[in-house]
């Protein structure tokens, strides 16, 4: 066997998990640490096979805590790194996720969601980790969460996740679900030169001039890797620009506000939405992941029945597209939010609607996707108030 190419340019028939692994490789990921868990295991299996072909490293760790620890370590060795898991493993990663935000460590964490809580429904779909992805680690922080709706997007958004993590120096989460992870569909991998790649901003100045947490104007500090001679000290403690621990409220204020601001200031760069039929819509379906595909069918059915219904798909779930939702709330009758949980993103929609438009949840706790007719019934409800 010869070494394989990192980018498998061509048309493939891949499941979402495999597409995600290929997206990671195309993005330049050369380190994967993980622990087997349904329905994300195929990502690890694909990486175990493919990383040695491209000169990268795969390791199966003893648990998910160790997996994310190793990913953070690899990132500080200067290598793009990823792990993939599902609900229970995602819960185990929460502390180190916070370490990633605090130390500004680029990496990607994939959560192929299944039904919860606890062990829940290992083989069946759920979307119950949307709020955990936003708030799961302790303390204040902003994050970036992308939600793919197809095998193609498992490829595309994994690349986007790496690029955003490298650009803004933070762990970026890909929140998929069991259906999107296992759905097998056409995936088109473009030629390598057509895939935009972002690499972390590196510091190349003299040793003595380097302050590991002195941000540039974009609020992102340039990074170095271990072993490059800069002798950095990196800690999860509140730290000043030198990286030294501090218990000063001023230092805490400066650091934690910057960590949030570097994302908040750039929401226009980070937020991606897909919209259909919004222009004349009286009612807008707001959905993500597999639920967005089901909602699309509901919109088609409603449109066929003469209802002016629009469809807004959250590709970026966090930061939440507040501006767009607030704007729509002034001119639509209602938002309808189908999710495979008992009400998570719908709360954000309701907050943005702020009473100006109705917010109607269509909720299932996971295990199966909606029937488009359930969503259609809510659309009818919205038109009959």
């Amino acid at each position: 066997m010869k070494r394989g190419p990192a980018v498998l340019t061509g048309v493939h028939f891949f499941n979402g998990d495999v597409a995600c692994a290929e997206g990671a490789l195309a993005a330049g990921c050369r380190f994967f640490a993980g622990y087997p868990i349904t329905p994300a295991t195929e990502i690890a299996e694909r990486m175990a096979e493919r990383l040695p072909e491209v000169g990268g490293t795969f390791i199966q760790m003893e648990d998910e805590i160790a997996s994310l620890s190793a990913v953070l370590g690899a990132s500080w060795a200067g290598v793009k790194a990823m792990t993939a898991t599902s609900g229970p493993g995602f819960s185990l990663m929460m502390e180190n996720l916070g370490f990633g935000y605090m130390t500004e460590t680029p990496c990607v964490i994939v959560n192929v969601q299944r039904g919860g809580p606890s062990t829940g429904l290992p083989t069946l779909v759920g979307q119950g980790d949307m709020m955990q992805a936003r708030w799961g680690s302790h303390g204040d922080y902003e994050t970036i969460v992308l939600a793919p709706s197809s095998a193609q997007e498992m490829f595309d958004l994994t690349i986007a996740a790496f690029n955003l993590s490298e650009k803004y120096r933070l762990p970026v989460l890909l929140l998929s679900d069991a259906v999107i992870g296992h759905i097998t569909e056409r995936v088109i991998i473009p030629p390598e030169e057509e895939i935009p790649i972002v690499n972390r901003k590196k510091f190349a100045g003299p040793r003595d001039a380097y302050l590991p947490y002195l941000p540039d104007e974009d609020l992102v500090p340039p990074m170095v890797a271990a072993g490059e001679g800069y002798r950095v000290y990196i800690t999860g403690l509140t730290h000043d620009e030198r990286g030294y621990p501090s218990t000063s409220p001023e230092v805490q204020e400066r650091l934690v506000r910057r960590l949030a601001e570097k994302i908040r200031r750039n929401v226009r760069d980070i937020i991606r939405l897909e919209e259909r039929g919004i222009e004349d819509a009286e009612v807008v379906l707001v959905a993500y992941g597999i639920s967005a595909r089901v909602a699309y069918r509901a919109m088609e059915l409603a449109r066929a029945a003469g209802r002016r219904v629009g469809w807004l798909r959250l590709i970026t779930v966090w930061p939440f597209p507040e501006e767009r939702l607030r704007d729509l709330a002034t001119r639509v009758r209602a938002f309808i939010v189908p999710e495979l949980n008992l009400g998570q993103i719908v709360r954000e929609v309701e907050r943005c609607a702020n009473g100006r438009a109705r917010t109607i949840p269509v909720l299932r706790p996971g295990g199966a996707v909606h029937d488009p007719r359930e969503i259609l019934a809510s659309i009818e409800e919205a038109f009959h108030d």
Binding site: A66, S69, A70, L72, A226, G227, P245
Partner: protein
Amino acid sequence: MTEAQHPLDHLLRADRLPHIWCPGCGIGIAMRCLVLALEELGRPLDRVVVVSGIGCSARVAGYVRLDGFHTTHGRAIPFATGLKLANPDLTVIVFSGDGDLAAIGGNHFIHAARRNLDLTVICVNNFIYGMTGGQFGPTTPLSARSTTTPYGNFEPPFNLPALAAASGAVYVARWTVFHVRRLITAFQEAIAKKGFSFVEVLSPCPTGYLRRNKLGEALEMMRYFKAQSEIRHGANPAEAEIEMGGKLLLGKFVDIERPTYHERMRKQLATFFIEPYAEKVSEEIEAKEVES
């Protein structure tokens, strides 16, 4: 007037002094032994990384003038695993305390030893959780008092050298902060050893352990370390159990050869790949060296 330079200033972050450790604490001695060991060892210091978790001993990563990572509680070893795998040319040292390593991080410890990844793990064992104010831990001797064993400890402690050896470590030694010369040598041997090496360093915690157990000042613990130590290289680590006030078995217990994680990985992958397998990172660094 120019400030006098300490001979180890180039290896310590003097701008971070004073350190947080209590008078009589042994962690500073262990840290000094580590930097002296590194200085004499002659490895390129720019490629030496110290990784720690949480606790008093974990603060070492921020006092040495090396790349230092002060990670989450118990997770220094898996973080170090990622560093070492992503850049095998780094010398990676985990500096830990007993609670960090053997309680919350215990699982990572045995798995890293099993893999025989080329890491050096140093554990300052002061028999107590110091940072949080003196709670018992996985190495606290039976009957010892702590804030969470007010009636005396009734959980048997881990014998760390035996745990390391049983899990697959290729180098296992135990010394105390009284035995500084032996300790420096042990650190050098452990760092030079290919594979998973482990050095346990017994150390006084006057504030959290000695005081509560009426064991006197740190100096008395040092006298105890001197008087009750029995040095037996090659001793069966299973005999290295520690009882309060009992004999302390010290020495180099294990120094064996076993293929490392990287050796096994490269050999295994070479049977599948026509081109000799080597991690790309390593190649790039080698290429850079040739250029410069």
